[in-house]
């Protein structure tokens, strides 16, 4: 995963606070994705981006927003964190015909 860096790797936050997760890629990929992974639910797409300032919602986008002001950075913001957003968050780059490369994940706990 040398081309994708997620930060922070771990975070504990309080309910109601805003949280921003960062994904940084060095491969100049056009497409970037944010997933959450929970036991029993697998990977679920939150938001994705198909270019700078071009983003769209995934299947579980409520409570999340994203921004992409540069090709290399894709930010995921939890506007007001809730306990149901406790999860592991993965960033990925790639396309459906060549496959994705995933970051190492951010483990978020909302207390």
């Amino acid at each position: 995963d040398a081309g994708i860096t997620q930060s922070p790797r771990h975070k504990v936050t309080e309910t109601g606070t805003p949280v921003t997760l960062r994904c940084h890629q060095t491969e100049n990929h056009r497409y970037m994705y944010w997933y959450r992974q929970d036991p029993g639910h697998g990977l679920r797409l939150i938001h994705y981006s198909y270019g700078v300032k071009d983003t769209d919602k995934g299947e579980v986008s409520d409570g999340y927003s994203v921004s992409r002001s540069k090709t290399e950075d894709f930010l995921l913001t939890l506007e007001s964190a809730t306990s149901s957003q406790t999860s592991v968050y993965f960033c990925a780059t790639g396309t459906g015909n060549y496959g994705y490369t995933f970051g190492s994940g951010t483990r978020l706990t909302v207390v």
Binding site: G42, Y100, F102
Partner: protein, 112 residues
């Protein structure tokens, strides 16, 4: 019904066994088939990639695609404890703008 179905397991086998992991799907437009391996507390990593039908072999791993049955398989020969991980299948269509569709993953445990 999910577009891609995968038994969550866990699947427990003794070291040296042949492992068979499977996924079924409903979308006949899928043409790209992949298997990802995910170790605990790590991100998924691409393990096998297959285009259309047929088999692909890489060391101890063989990926099979049967488009007529909408069924894909990953075989692991001479399984090792280091193969213990969650295996996710993923599928895509022939359009760069389309995303991968993932199965829920099968947890495999290979016991020494």
């Amino acid at each position: 019904q999910k577009e891609v179905e995968q038994d969550p397991g866990p699947l427990s086998v003794p070291e040296g066994a042949i492992v068979s992991l499977n996924c079924t799907y409903s979308n006949s437009a899928f043409q790209y088939f992949m298997w990802y391996r995910q170790y605990s507390r790590k991100g998924p990593e691409l393990l096998m990639y297959t285009y259309s039908s047929g088999n692909k072999e890489d060391g101890r791993f063989t990926a099979q695609v049967d488009k007529s049955s909408k069924y894909i398989s990953l075989f692991i020969r001479d399984s090792q404890p280091s193969d213990s991980a969650t295996y996710l299948c993923a599928m895509g269509v022939n359009n760069a703008g389309n995303m991968l569709t993932f199965g829920g993953g099968t947890r495999l445990m290979v016991k020494p």
